[in-house]
Each structure stands twice: as C-alpha cells, then as structure tokens.
C-alpha cells in the first residue's frame, strides 16, 4: 500500500494554506470530503459531460453518439444531440434561476410581514433605499410611514413573480434604454419571474422545445428574470431590511473559528435567517449561558453566501467558501452549523457525526437527513433564533479539545462595496471612474463571480485570474465564493494594489480601495448589473457597449449558469473556467460562443488557463473601447 502523503494531497486540492491544513487533518482522520467523492466518481460519464444524455422521459434514458459512428444519433423521440444539449442547458439554467428567485421571494415575504407588523425581530433599516426603490415603483413616499411604503413596495415586487402584470419593473426601468431595446429585438424581455421559469420547465417536457436557438433564447429570458428580477429584488429587499452594505474590514478563512468560544457557522443563503441569528446572539442571557457552559462567548462565523451577506453588512468573519464547509466541521471546533438552502453538501451531517457538531436545518425546502430540524418562521424569528443558539451553546461542553485544530492565520479583507456606496465614494456619479477608463488608467472592469469546484485546485482559478487582470489595469469586482477566495489570498486589502498595474494602482491608492472590490453574495451580482446600467446611462449608451467582462473561473452550480447567462444577456462577455455540458453539440457551442455576439454584443467563452483568460478579457475590452472611440 503506497504511503499517503496527506500534505502533498492537500496542496493539490487547495491553494489556501488554512484550508490545506484541515484537508490534511481530514485525510489523516479518515473524514470524507468532496475531493474524495470526486475521485470515487471517476470516470464521470462522457455522455453526461457532453450534455448528450437525456433522462427526461420514460421512453429513455437516451444518449447520442457524438462521434456519429454506428451509435444512435437521436433519442427515441427524435431529438438530436443539438436539441438534447440545448434542452439540458435550459433545464439547468431554470433551476439556478429558481433558486435565486425563490430566495428573493422569501425576502419579499419577510419585508411584507415586517411592514404589517407580523414579523418578530425585523425592521426597516435603510429607509433611504426604501424610498428610492419605492419611487422607482411609482409609490408615494412623501409623509408616509416607512412600513406603509414598505408594504406597498413588497406587494408590487411580489407581483413581478406572476402572470397578469406581464412585465418586470426593474428590467424595464433600471436597464439602459439601448440595452432594453436589444432585449426587445431579441425577444427576450422577461414577463414575470415565476412565469419564465415555469414556461422553461414546460419547454423541457418531451415534445416541446426542439429548436436549439429557440430554447437558448428562452434560457436567456429566464436569466434576465433572475438577474434583473428575482436576484435584484433579493438584494434590494435585503438592503431595505438589513442595511445597504458599506465598506468595512473583517477576517476570512478557517482561522476565524475560536478555541474558547461557542462556534456557530451560518451556512446557506438567505439573510432573513442569518440576520436573526446575529441579533439573537447579542442576547445577554445567551451570552451568560455561554459563559456558564465554559465558553468565553459566542463566535458567529459565516460560510458561503449567507456569510457574504453578513460580512458586507456587519463585518461578521467568514470561515470559507464552498469547499470549506466540510473542513470547518473537520476542525472539531464547531458546535453548530445552521443551514437554510443552496450549496449545502448533503454529506455535512455525516461529517458532523465525526464530532460533536450539530447541523440545524431551518427550511422546509431543504431538510437534510441527520440534521436537527428547527423550522424558521418570520413571526417567531427571534425566538427560534435564540432557541438555535441555545442549542449550540449547550453543545459546547461536548467539544473534544484534544481533537481540535484551528489554523491560526485569519486573513484581513475589505468588503461591502455596494453600488450605492461605490458611487457615493466617487462623489455621487461615475464620472471619476469613467474618466479613469477613458484615460486608460483603468482599461475596463471584470466581475469575477461564482463557486468552487473540486476539479480545480480550490481558489486557484480566482486568485490567478484576479492577479492577471489587475496586472493589466482591469478593475475587478468580486462576489460569492470568488470574493471569499480573493479575501483568503489577501487580494481584498488596499495594500494589494501593489500587485496591480500602474494605472489601476494609482486609482486605488487615490481612493484607498483594493484592486478587487467585494460586492457581496451571489444574488448581489445584481449590484454589478446596476453599476453597469448606471455607468451606461451616464454615457448615454448600453451596458453592451461598455468595456466589461464577467468570469466564473471555478463554477459548479446551476445558479452560476443563470448568472453567466444574465451577464451575457446584458451585453457582458463571460468566460467560464470549466466547460458547461454543451460540447456534445457543435451548433450549441457556436451559438453560445459566437452567434450571440450578433444579438447581444457579447458571448460566452471557456478558458481554464488564467493567463489566456486574462488576455481574452483584454482583447474583448479593447474591442469595446475601440467601438467607444477611447
């Protein structure tokens, strides 16, 4: 039996030293991780990888011989590889959009409950933003109680999910006119958030969608109902309820866990849950209970997107991104991981069994076998939150300190660059940024977003690409797991401007900002859309004319497909670090990487190599600069 070099394996799995440390621990202690399961899955089926496996109906499952030899060229229903690939992409995208938009719906429901006095512990925090958005919805704000305004706004936004209205206000009003015309011409203006998704599911049914272009256009429409709809409403309603983020500093990586406090990891997505946990943890009785149980206090840390939400609003430290979720438990130091939904490995309850850690599931939508279930409701939010914290505190005496290992170098990061605060720091308009772009100090702006994927060394894709881009004087905006990756690598501090090219560095030093700006969670990619829209409006052009780019170097999720699609649909060239399941159809690949340019002035590309990807971004940015005459 070959001796396992755990350290070497850890270094192949992640670039982050703190994560590496715990990967090593997990290997030595026999704790299974996503990396182990990926290995066991090899080889993964090529039909699936190429997108030519159709498992939709009972006449199947079918697959298509991509080599066009003697194998089948059509499914039983007659669908060709092109049809199957496009249909599968539609299927994946609509699931991703549904995740974002359903999250948005929940925030709106809490906003409504709060406005009606039915929610416990919530309040309208950002009255300014409430009024701004309400005015966009033509709601009267003068001399009105904030709760009345909020109620009207929540109802109007919830209406966007339906069928009757036939339009989404934010799509129609926030996008620049030229970009909106582009959507009209392409026939992809979304009519309603739930409607586009349901129609998408309809089109996936056997014998509905058959034309690849037709299906891909509807996919783009769904993505717009997410980015400019469900996600954007999630961001705005969360800002209204919990505050619009402003730049602050905090700490990130597994080192934020504590040796002598009750560690509670907040994992999942929706701040309607995590914000209440934060509030509950301030309760003096709970703090006293923690001390009674031998802990020096309660240490709340975030994981993934809900962690990003708490980071950008309150500076709550972040323990890690997607691939760190099992590792955080493997430190042996976590009393409870509180989850709602999305990106949560079903295996974490198994990981938790290796220790005293309790997994607390809170949403009826995402029960996990082995988890303790404490259903969360807005009307009893604070009580339930306190109950959950109590559970964590009472678990502290069960911690086996001899099995605990916590990395000891948490990284400092700056985060919270909401579109509002960014614009405010520039003096209220984007003119300084536009001037810098025109002058060439900043060549363009690229949003690096998305997840981790164990197929790529954790955080390598993000960190390498961020460094290549800032070297080329391209300002980087980050969200989601990508933001966490940048933070772990130290790139989100103003000092990191030293890695940037001369132009970008001078701008960063003048403003005291990092070369990569963390804007929040994955629904907060909508902030990037608003930023793009506002710059375009100041210039009198469309978002598709701006020297922008989008990148998801290590994506895994269906949500990422929706995000990439709404970037491209909004005119932003997007590079994926891993291939989507489309390469079984040359026609679909051609549409996505080539033909979309004619319709949206943007397209997709796939490039895992960070240096090549950076060069591709530069080429695209130069193309748009040239067209703008700068």
């Amino acid at each position: 039996m070959k001796k396992i070099d755990a350290k070497l394996i850890a270094q192949q799995r992640s670039i982050d030293e703190s994560s590496q440390e715990i990967i090593e621990k997990a290997i030595k202690e026999g704790i299974e991780t996503a990396w182990d399961r990926l290995e066991k899955q090899q080889p993964q089926c090529g039909f699936g990888q190429l997108g030519v496996c159709c498992n939709n109906c009972s006449m199947g499952p079918c697959r298509v011989d991509v080599f066009e030899e003697d194998g089948p060229t059509k499914g039983v229903c007659g669908a060709t590889g092109d049809t199957i690939v496009a249909r599968n992409l539609l299927d994946d995208l609509l699931v991703g959009a549904a995740a974002h938009s359903d999250h948005g719906r929940e925030v709106l429901e809490v906003l409504l409950d709060t406005a009606e006095g039915k929610a416990q512990g919530y309040e309208i925090t950002d009255v300014e933003k409430l009024k701004v958005v309400a005015q966009e919805y033509h709601i009267e704000t003068e001399d009105r109680d904030k709760n009345d305004i909020a109620k009207d706004l929540a109802l109007k936004m919830l209406e966007e999910f339906g069928t009757v209205k036939g339009s989404i206000d934010l799509v129609d009003s926030r996008a620049p006119e030229k970009t909106f015309s582009m959507w009209e011409k392409a026939g992809i203006v979304p009519r309603g958030v739930d409607r586009e998704i349901v129609e998408g599911a309809h089109r996936v049914h056997m014998g509905v969608g058959a034309d690849p272009t037709n299906m891909l256009l509807h996919s783009l429409r769904i993505s717009l109902s997410d980015g400019w709809g469900g996600s954007m409403m999630a961001t705005d309603a969360s800002d209204i309820l919990f505050g619009t983020p402003a730049p602050n500093t905090s700490f990130v990586n597994l080192g934020v866990l504590s040796h002598d406090k009750v560690n509670v990891v907040l994992h999942g997505h929706n701040p309607v849950l995590s914000e209440m946990i934060v509030k509950a943890a301030n309760d003096p009785d709970l703090k006293a209970l923690a001390e009674k149980k031998g802990a020096k206090g309660i240490n709340l840390v975030g994981m993934c997107c809900t962690g990003n939400e708490l980071l950008v609003r309150h500076g709550i430290p972040l323990a890690g991104n997607l691939l760190d979720q099992e590792l955080s438990i493997a430190t042996g130091a976590v009393e409870a991981m509180i989850i709602d939904y999305q990106c949560i490995f079903p295996s974490i309850t198994e990981t938790a069994k290796c220790f005293h850690t309790k997994i607390v599931a809170t949403s009826e939508k995402s029960k996990v076998p082995g988890a303790i279930y404490k259903e969360f409701h807005a009307d009893k939010a604070l009580d339930i939150a306190k109950d959950i914290i109590k559970l964590a505190i009472e678990n502290y005496p069960n911690r086996n300190h001899s099995r605990v290992q916590i990395p000891n170098r948490p990284m400092e990061l700056m985060a919270g660059f909401s579109e509002e605060k960014l614009r405010e720091s520039l003096g209220g308009t984007y003119k300084p940024l536009i001037d810098a772009i025109v002058a060439g100090k900043i060549k363009g702006v690229v949003g690096l977003v998305g997840c981790n994927n164990p197929k790529i060394k954790q955080d390598y894709g993000f960190v390498a690409l961020t460094k290549e881009l800032i070297k080329r004087d391209i300002l980087v905006l980050v969200t989601g797991c990508g933001g966490v990756a940048g933070g772990k690598a130290g790139l989100l501090m103003p000092e990191s401007a030293k890695f940037a090219g001369d132009g970008l560095r001078s701008v960063c030093e003048a403003l005291g900002i990092p070369p990569a700006l963390h804007m929040g969670s994955c629904v907060d990619n909508s902030r990037i859309l608003v930023l793009g829209a506002n710059i375009a409006k100041e210039l009198g052009c469309g978002i598709e004319d701006l020297p922008l780019g989008g990148g998801a170097p290590e994506w895994y999720s269906q949500k990422a497909i929706s995000i990439a699609a709404y970037f491209v649909a909004s005119g932003v060239y997007t590079i994926l670090g891993l291939p989507p399941k489309v390469f079984g159809s040359e026609a679909v690949v051609d549409i996505l990487t080539n033909k979309l340019n004619d319709v949206l002035n943007a397209a997709f590309a796939v490039e895992p190599d960070p240096v090549k990807a950076a060069d591709m971004f530069v080429a695209e940015i130069n193309r748009k600069r040239k067209a703008l005459g700068i």
């Binding site: 192949q12 090529g46 080599f67 194998g71 089948p72 159809s585 796939v606």
Partner: protein, 206 residues
C-alpha cells in the same frame, strides 16, 4: 480470430459496457433482476480513468499464449478451440491469484459466481461472451458501447480501418472520407479544456 478491438479515443467513460457485462453474466440476465441476486454479478470489463479525464475500457485480451493459463496450478484456465477465448472452469479455481500476478493487463478480478456453490471467490474474468459469440451475437460490452469504442470482428479487418485512415491522412487528400473515428471539433475542444483543468486540479494530468 475474432476479438474485440478498442478505439481509445472514442471511449467517453460512460461505463455502459460494465453494466452490460454484469447483466450478461448475471443469472436473470436482466438489470432489475440482477440487483436482487446473490451473489451479485460483477463486470469483467473495467473502465479506468487515465490522465486528463481520458478513459479506457480494460478487458481480457484472450492472449495466445496466455500467461494466466501458463501459471494456473489447477488447469482451471483453458482455451476454447472454436473461439480462441481463454475460459475459466470455475469449480477448479483455487483463488490463489497467480493468474492475476501473471496477467499483463490487470484485468483479472475475483468474485463469488453462481456456478460455484461454496462461498468462495474465484477468477471472474471476461470469457469473451462465449455463449453469445457461439450464437453469432457480438459480446455484451460491444453491443452496449454506443460510441464505437469497442468493436468486434476479425482483428486484421478492424485494424485495416485505422490503417486506411492513416494512409489517407499521410497522403493528405482533400475532403477524403475517413473510415475511422472523426472526432468532432467541439469534442476536441472539450478534451483540450479538460487537459487544462487536469493541470490546475487534483485529478491526474499528463
């Protein structure tokens, strides 16, 4: 002699060959029935991942002379005269593993088989689907392979296709119809992307 010729570039790792092999060697010869059987039927063809996410289906080559036959102490392994396949007389196998040590291809695995009534593992390697071949039907793995990675026939004929294709490429004819695998551009692009991902991730790369 008829044998199975493998075109590695057409293997995409779907593992249908494994399932079909297991079903063929089960008692009920049906997927759902197979899952209820004891002992559980196991595949005798093994798809492994190499580097850059590329895969290869490994099966017995039915060598002649066969190292496994040469080392077997009980003559449990023998050659079928008609097909040339290397077959196992299960009840003679003493599970010593000498054949596995001698096999250059690592394709011999040991499992319980229904033909042996005692609870012991025996050499359960590929038998060339001898029952099917005798009836003029191609082996189960070949039938299951939908990309043409596994083809059955006279080796001399099968390899001629590769030779012709190479000849054409050497002569560089314009627009010539190639007889062997033409990898579509998008699949080539896909494999190039996978190669890059293998370089920056933990799975084996070239």
């Amino acid at each position: 002699m008829e044998n199975i010729f493998i075109r590695p570039e057409l293997c995409i790792g779907c593992r249908h060959c494994e399932i079909a092999c297991a079903v063929e060697h089960s008692q009920s010869k049906d997927l759902f029935g197979m899952l209820k059987e004891t002992p559980q039927s196991r595949p005798r063809i093994h798809v492994e991942i190499g580097v850059d996410f590329l895969t290869f289906p490994n099966r017995c080559r039915h060598c002649d002379p066969a190292p496994c036959i040469q080392v077997c102490p009980t003559d449990a392994l023998y050659r079928d005269k008609d097909t040339g396949n290397v077959i196992i007389a299960y009840e003679k196998c003493i599970d010593c593993g000498a054949c596995a040590i001698a096999c250059p291809f690592g394709i011999i695995t040991f499992h319980n088989v229904p033909q042996v009534s005692f609870d012991r593992e025996v050499n359960a390697k590929c038998d060339g689907c001898i029952d099917r071949v005798r009836e003029g039907i191609e082996p189960a793995c070949v039938e299951a392979c939908k990309t043409g990675a596994l083809v059955f026939g006279e080796i001399n004929q099968l390899i001629r296709n590769s030779r012709k294709d190479f000849t054409i490429r050497m002569i560089k004819s314009q627009g010539a119809d190639v007889e062997t695998s033409k990898i579509p551009k998008s699949v080539q692009q896909y494999r190039e992307i996978l190669k890059k991902i293998a370089e920056i991730g933990p799975l084996p790369n070239s």
